[in-house]
Symmetry: C2
Subunit: 335 residues, 2 copies
Amino acid sequence: MSELSPTSAEPIAEIAAAIENHSSFVLISHVRPDGDAIGSQIALGFALMAAGKSVRLINEDGLPDNLSFLPGSEKIETPPAEPIEVEVAIALDTATKPRLGENALAAASRAKLWINIDHHISNPSYGDINLIDSTAPATGQILYKLIQSLGLPLPAESRDSIYTAVSTDTGSFQYPSTQAETYEMAADLIRQGLDVGTINSLIYDNHPFRRVELMRALLNTLEISKDGIVAHWELLDQTRQKLQLQPEDSEGLIDIIRGIQGVLLAVFFEELPDGKIRISMRSKDPRLNVCNIATEFGGGGHALAAGIRMAGPIESAKSRLLSAIDRAAHTAGLR
Amino acid sequence: MSELSPTSAEPIAEIAAAIENHSSFVLISHVRPDGDAIGSQIALGFALMAAGKSVRLINEDGLPDNLSFLPGSEKIETPPAEPIEVEVAIALDTATKPRLGENALAAASRAKLWINIDHHISNPSYGDINLIDSTAPATGQILYKLIQSLGLPLPAESRDSIYTAVSTDTGSFQYPSTQAETYEMAADLIRQGLDVGTINSLIYDNHPFRRVELMRALLNTLEISKDGIVAHWELLDQTRQKLQLQPEDSEGLIDIIRGIQGVLLAVFFEELPDGKIRISMRSKDPRLNVCNIATEFGGGGHALAAGIRMAGPIESAKSRLLSAIDRAAHTAGLR
């Protein structure tokens, strides 16, 4: 393992050498992939292909429906049963190696060199070469700069995927992580031919009807505390089955209740097929540290976004969590 | 009336002279103001004040709640009863003079010079000086360039208002009207101190609870045609009264159903206090020209966004409009 500083220019030189000296690459991103994961694979993958390299794009869970509009997404494959004969494996947007998935890791097991490119601050630099920039709002933005630094081609597939990766990971250029450079990158991609109206329409205005049905089902369970600081809603497993929901269908919906005036904490209770309850919490106020609350129940995360898996049934999970939130709100002087 | 070409540099020189030669200004935007209207008033208003001018910011309907977070918004006032003693009136983001509102026009009636700055293509150049750029995605972007061209100061109020004007008029940098320059402008505003995370949280994550209640009420009336190309929902006047809705509460909600896969036409039926039915239509397909459909009922608009006011009751309005849509879909070969 190399011990490079994340801000060092060395990993870029090492990546340049790795690309120069090898001809076959497998690019992998994390399980349950989102726009930054798949977008990063296509972005770097098509740039390498345009430079004449042999490239496979592998994801443990394959391509989610909501990203199948991306040009080049047809190259994303689930892991083959046999290990691939490949020289270099590149992990993209994946904070820990196990998050690449068991089958994807097995498929890439013959690689003799691992490159790890990511923007998660918790990434322990598990590659032989590590390019980690936790100030970047998305791995897609790191790749945009990398492709420029290396002088690689930027085919249309890469251009559109970089935009999608960064747009989805910044909530359409809204999150605090968004930088002046992020907007400048988008401007440059437009000047390079990106059709900004069309791609946004494909990213944001093209959801399956079942997502709207899910929104309605969740809103019909919405409860808000008397003092207005805690809002929560829930999804029963029977609703998931009835609407034939996919994992990506609920993505971002919690923002609807997190965005209510006065709400400091939004909670999503989800009954899983095995009867366990998955809980997602989003806080708007650092005084309500949801990571601390999650830790009480064996969960984890960050101060403003954390998760728990708890035993069911849902009513008892709700009551235990809401009591813990109440204690935390009292301790913080918010109640 | 001057007959300046919209792309001519002359209006900018004339505006420069008007500012140089006068000391008092009233800035007005359209009735039922949105982010680009109010944002444009604050943006130019505070730049002029920072340059030592006397400025009033007037809106027929005053400041909507959802824009009261904007620094400087406390300067927005409803029209005073008596005409203001002012030399120059500046109309912002307002396609026709009557859209400024009767009382606002009366308040500005002593102005001897009218400046008209707008991005609506239908603007008939009703000012003495007209700066119309229909390629700009928002009037806020025209003002950003104008403030630069004139060498006016850009105080924090103007900076934040320009961002808000442009972000809200482009659906957070998503609409086809968004340009490379639009993103470059946002980058520059960040470099000038804009706190991008905070302002977006105030614009997008700070809606009143009643807006979420409205979303739920609308979703519970959602209907989608068997072939999936037409989706519609409705708001009864009693629901508006029960939830104590404000006009801005429904802004943008139609995008939820417009964004459903396969839907080509989204329709919002709204029962008004006088019993009339206000209909908003959004098309995703130029073959379904909603302006043509609206015209059949005395309404109007654009090919992809149009509106109608129809006699009630709501059930008969729905049935008449859905029949017209069915005919249009057949004519277009979509049914």
